[in-house]
Amino acid sequence: MTVALKSWTALGTSVHVIATDADGLGRATTAVGDVLEDVDTAYSRFREDSELSRLNASPGRTVRVSPLLATAIDAAQRAARLTDGAVDPTIGQAIRVAGYDDDFSRIAAQDGPINLRAWRVPGWQAIRFDRRSRTVLLPPGVELDLGSTGKALAADLAARAALAATGAGGVLVSLGGDIATAGTPPAGGWRIHVTEDSREKPDGDGEVICLPAGGVATSSTTVRRWTRGAAVLHHIIDPQTSLPTTGPFRTVTVAAATCLDANIASTAAIVRGTAAIEWLMGWGLPARLVENDGTIHYIGRWPDPSGIAA
């Protein structure tokens, strides 16, 4: 079965759409583009006019939000619950203080010193969110960042919308390496090159897996890094300290039923550190973990290229 691919850039990252029905690729890409536009409007942290920015600018007030932002907040709270707070949406202030306060293309160019201090983020329980009425109240000092779960959720929503638009076959949507699929896969499954940097070419370093269904997400401290004075920082924040994580794993890739669940698990694994292996195995999630020295661990049902199960 041949597949058709289209790539472009949106939300500050790469977008790839694959359709098994080549005739439906145009409709699929249009549907994906529409979803990404809605996502940008609803919960971009870098747009002052996004709903999320306006919510963050309204502490202490009850705000009614759109169904899409409500869904994103719901997803972020679920992530926090399932990870015991390792993936927490209330890191908004922490990541801003750490210097990631603008589109990343403008962040890397700055290099002035920065004052950082360790403090625990407010925690997802501080968000007063009523799912039925779609109302949110953020107490003063609480800022939301939906970057982690938000991108994966967008990939899932985009894949579903693309499949609905094509009406047949299967589609794959990749947003900066967060991959969601929907519908019938090509023969043998979706081919995914797993590596540390989503900008790598498919024939570069790493391994190729075939995914029958679901999603794959990779979290890594090796990308989106920036320097302030003598400090090298990255975008994965430990909610316990408000600082970039310093654990033993630099990159974690997970396969799950949805891209969202894969991303929740991969991000939590980076934050949890050594305890992540047992935690991932407890969920029955196949995963590939790269230690800071480059050692790779394959756990669960992740295919080990050496043929030796971990």
Binding site: S58, T71, P202, C210
Partner: protein, 93 residues
């Protein structure tokens, strides 16, 4: 069938009125109770306190979109593959 005396008929009518009143009062209590439960189940916010930043979007995003499951959901295990057309990269970004 024996004919009722006037006294028996009056007693019967009184009993019927008591039953009718009791049934009406019971129904009223039930309506109030159900209304209370319904109101408690659908808590809302006064429009006077709820500001709105809702943005019009077309993306369908109901609760099922986020998998409301209380666990992380596994999928079929991936297998080893080889690079070729239609391969996409998963990595940090």
């Amino acid at each position: 069938m024996n004919a009722l005396t006037p006294i028996q008929r009056d007693r019967g009518l009184q009993r019927l009125r008591r039953l009718t009143f009791g049934a009406t009062a019971g129904a009223l209590v039930a309506v109030v109770g159900v209304s209370y439960v319904a109101a408690a189940s659908y808590a809302g916010k006064s429009s006077a306190t709820a500001a709105s930043t809702t943005t019009s979007t077309t993306t369908t995003a109901d609760s099922s979109s986020t998998s409301s499951s209380t666990s992380l959901q596994p999928t079929q295990a991936p297998t080893t593959g080889s690079s070729g057309s239609g391969t996409v990269t998963s990595g940090g970004s």
